[in-house]
């Protein structure tokens, strides 16, 4: 078995265990916190019989272990139950709201990598000189404030005082796009509507930048630090002794060995964006999973809470597995090792 395949199987196994652990934890917490979900769902005017009936229907009068058993059996059939808040299957709700969040997070992640890594390379290449100082000040600034603060600042600057970008939402109301995937950037292209595609991108920029900003700073700082260390290695002096251009040395000979330690952290940052996205979505009235998540938690909508948390945990784990594979692909020491790592 190739080392990479073994790594993949190991990581998938661990992910499954983590997922089960998360589900147990949330399952217990959601049921231990005060408040009767059946009472909240039926409202103050329901009779005690109605409440008791609903409790029985939701298995709430059974022991916790049995309840969890029912839950697992349902999940294995792909059934996350019905939301008491929207009165629809939770899977349907998540299918509606998750793409908006994923689209935001994916674009923010791309912005983070596409700006953070080159800034880090540039800072390391000109370490101690003015491009380095500028980039370090910028990085410090961006990591110093959480993304929802940047969301408010960016919204005020570029949507309110300078109305370059739309202030909120995913797309203007004038466009009526068929939702096939839920990803508007894809759906608008499927519809062949270039104007709507541009409009969706304009709506995406501010929230995505706000979400990415601290990640950009983090990635730039990390890349710079690792590369400055790499620049002291003999193989960089060797590359210089062979007359390669300084920019080539920075981009290739110093960058690739430095990328491997950075990548783990960048992957974690990327996954952490899922959590930060909740607040950014709130600021930009982005119809993602956050508003749904907050609403169902406040209403103690047990099935919807479980579904939302599980989906987010799953996304987090998938991102981590992808990052691990990427590292294995980039790092020959893992790819060619015969030991499990």
């Amino acid at each position: 078995m190739s080392p990479v395949l073994r790594l993949l199987l190991r990581r998938l196994g661990i992910s499954l265990i983590v997922l089960i652990g998360v589900s147990m934890l949330i399952f217990t917490i959601a049921r231990v916190i005060p408040g009767d979900p059946a009472r909240i769902a039926l409202g103050p005017n329901a009779t005690p019989e109605q409440v008791a009936n609903l409790r029985a229907e939701m298995h709430l009068d059974e022991p916790l272990v049995l309840q969890y058993g029912h839950f697992l059996a349902d999940v294995s059939r792909g059934d996350l139950g019905t939301s008491l808040y929207t009165n629809r299957p939770v899977t349907l709700d998540i299918a509606q709201f998750l793409p908006a969040t994923l689209e935001l997070v994916l674009i923010a992640g791309i912005i983070m990598v596409a700006l953070g890594l080159p800034l880090g390379i540039l800072a390391a290449r000109y370490r101690g000189r003015w491009p380095d100082h500028l980039i370090r000040i910028f990085s410090l600034l961006t990591v110093s404030a959480p993304s929802f603060v940047w969301a408010v600042i960016l919204m005020l600057l570029f949507a309110f005082y300078l109305p370059i970008f739309p202030i909120a939402g995913r797309i203007s109301d004038i466009y009526d796009i068929d939702r096939h995937t839920g990803f508007l950037l894809i759906d608008t292209l499927l519809a062949g509507n270039i104007a709507a595609f541009g409009d969706a991108i304009r709506h995406l920029i501010l929230p995505a930048v706000a979400l990415a900003l601290s990640g950009i700073g983090q990635a730039a700082r990390l890349t710079r630090a690792n590369m400055v260390e790499t620049y002291d290695k003999p193989y960089i002096e060797m590359a210089q002794a062979y007359g390669f251009f300084p920019s080539r040395i920075a981009r290739i000979y110093a960058f690739k060995p430095s990328l491997i330690p950075s990548l783990t952290i960048i992957g974690l940052d990327f996954a952490a964006m899922l959590g930060n996205a909740f607040l950014v979505e709130a600021v930009f009235a982005w119809p993602g999973l956050s508003r749904y998540g907050v609403a169902v938690i406040l209403r103690k909508d047990l099935n919807a809470i479980m579904g939302t948390v599980l989906i987010i945990a799953l996304t987090f784990l998938i991102v981590n597995v992808i990052v691990d594979l990427l590292i294995a692909f980039l790092n020959p020491r893992i790819r060619h090792s015969t030991r499990a790592t």
Partner: protein, 289 residues
Amino acid sequence: MSALLSISDLHLGFKGLSGINNVLHGISLNIAQGERVALVGESGSGKSVTARIVLGLLQETRSARISGAVKFDGNDISAMNPKARAALRGTDMSMIFQDPTSSLNPAFTIGRQFTEVLRRRDPSMGADACQERATKMLGEVSILDPNRVLNAYAFQLSGGMNQRVMIAMALANRPKLLLADEPGTALDVSVQAQTLTLMRNLVADHGTAVLFISHNLGVVREFADRVYVIYRGNIVEDGPTQALFSDPRHAYTRALMSAVPRITGAGLPEVPEVSEDFFAPQISHGGVA
């Protein structure tokens, strides 16, 4: 025979917080085409910086203050711009470093690095041509399974194997001058001896001139045609290897030679750290090209 490399009155200082810290005090050195010259001295005597000035690397360090003439192949390196100096590196000059395993990039295969080196000379060289030339060069350093080595990473090969790879890379573009900065010091003695013999035969075949930097007199005696002894940024004695070893006249040279450990005898002699005699004027045994 004209000199390939001629250094005259080279001064080097580093600008520090408390003024300029002088490292080289006007050294002069010549290497003829195809000649093997050793520069011998203790750590901190200025050997390695000399090699880095010849390569044009130190000129790019902002704190370095360099004066004097360094002529390579008829052109004054100190008068060139950084681009012209960079053009010489990896083509007409190349360098071998102390520790072969950490001098090869851990993120790329040997083959990829070899290709990049070959394209320094001829950027249009195709992948197959590079592979063929690399295979041939690895054959010259007695590597029996070049394909395995080309597909490997440095950490998968032994130190001695990496040293051979370094030698093959350094000579692949037929440089006129090879700078060897304590090559193989990081290897064990027998592997070092093996690779040095290999390198000696190769440069002799190719007619490559070598500036061999070392503190190891035994190795120098085997390798070099001529020796310069450097002490605290000054050349104190120079001459053909045979003449210098049989009749060391400068106090520092004698001290250096008596510091070579021997299997028989009573261990290391007491050698003074600094002696007034070490500052005596340069002694030359002649033999300069």
